[in-house]
Assembly symmetry: C2
Homo-oligomer: 98 residues x 2
DNA sequence: CTGTATCCTGAACGATACTG
DNA sequence: CAGTATCGTTCAGGATACAG
C-alpha cells in the first residue's frame, strides 16, 4: 500500500490516471481538454511521474505536428481495480447522504 | 471517485485511515505511536477531517486521565475494500520489480 | 492524555512565456 | 502539438508551547 501511495502522490495524480479507465490511450491534448483544471506544467509533471513509475507508456508518433500517445503499461492496467473500489465507496457514501 | 478523493485528501490521510484495518478502535496515543512520522497537529487534523467526513467516530471515555476512542463508522468500514485493492496493486508491482 | 494555538518553512502549485 | 523554463504565490506540513 505504501508503494501505491508513492505512485499516486500528488494532488491530481489519481485524476490523470483515471482518464485511462475509459480510453486506453490518450494524447496530451486530450488529457489537457479532459482536465481543464490542470496547468500544462502540472500535467507534464504528472505524466512524467506516471511514466517514470512504469504505469504509463509514452510513445512519440513520427511526423508533424508532433504527436504523443500515452498508454497504460502492463503494470498500470490493474489500477482500474483500485479505481472501481474507490468509485463504489464514494457512490455508496453519496447515496447515503441524499 | 471524486467523493473518495475529497475524503482522503491530504498527505497522511490514507495512512491514518489504514490503521483501522487491523484495530477497529484506537486511541490517540496508539495512533501516534503507530505513525511516528506525524506531528501532533497533523494527526489531530487528520482525525478531525475523517471524523467530519463521518468515516470515523470519536468517543470520549469519562475519567482521568482523559481517553478518546476512535472507531470506524458504518460508512467508513467498507473502506477496507479500497485498502485491499491498493495493497494488491502495490504488492504486484513490488513482486515484479524484484 | 488529548489535543489546540501560533508561527515558520519548503514544496507544490499556477501562470506566463518560450522552445523543439 | 507537446512540452520546458522561470518565477511568484499559496498552503499543507512541522516544531514548539500551551490548554482542557
Amino acid at each position: 500500500m505504501d508503494i501505491t501511495l508513492a505512485v499516486l502522490a500528488g494532488r491530481w495524480t489519481p485524476l490523470v490516471f483515471r482518464e485511462f479507465l475509459r480510453r486506453d490511450r490518450a494524447t496530451y491534448s486530450e488529457l489537457s481538454a479532459a482536465l481543464p483544471a490542470l496547468s500544462d506544467k502540472v500535467l507534464s509533471d504528472r505524466l512524467a511521474q506516471l511514466t517514470g513509475a512504469d504505469v504509463l507508456d509514452r510513445h512519440r508518433v513520427p511526423g508533424w505536428p508532433p504527436h504523443v500517445r500515452y498508454t497504460l503499461t502492463e503494470q498500470g492496467r490493474p489500477w482500474n481495480r483500485c479505481c472501481t473500489a474507490w468509485g463504489e465507496w464514494g457512490t455508496a457514501r453519496w447515496q447515503e447522504s441524499r
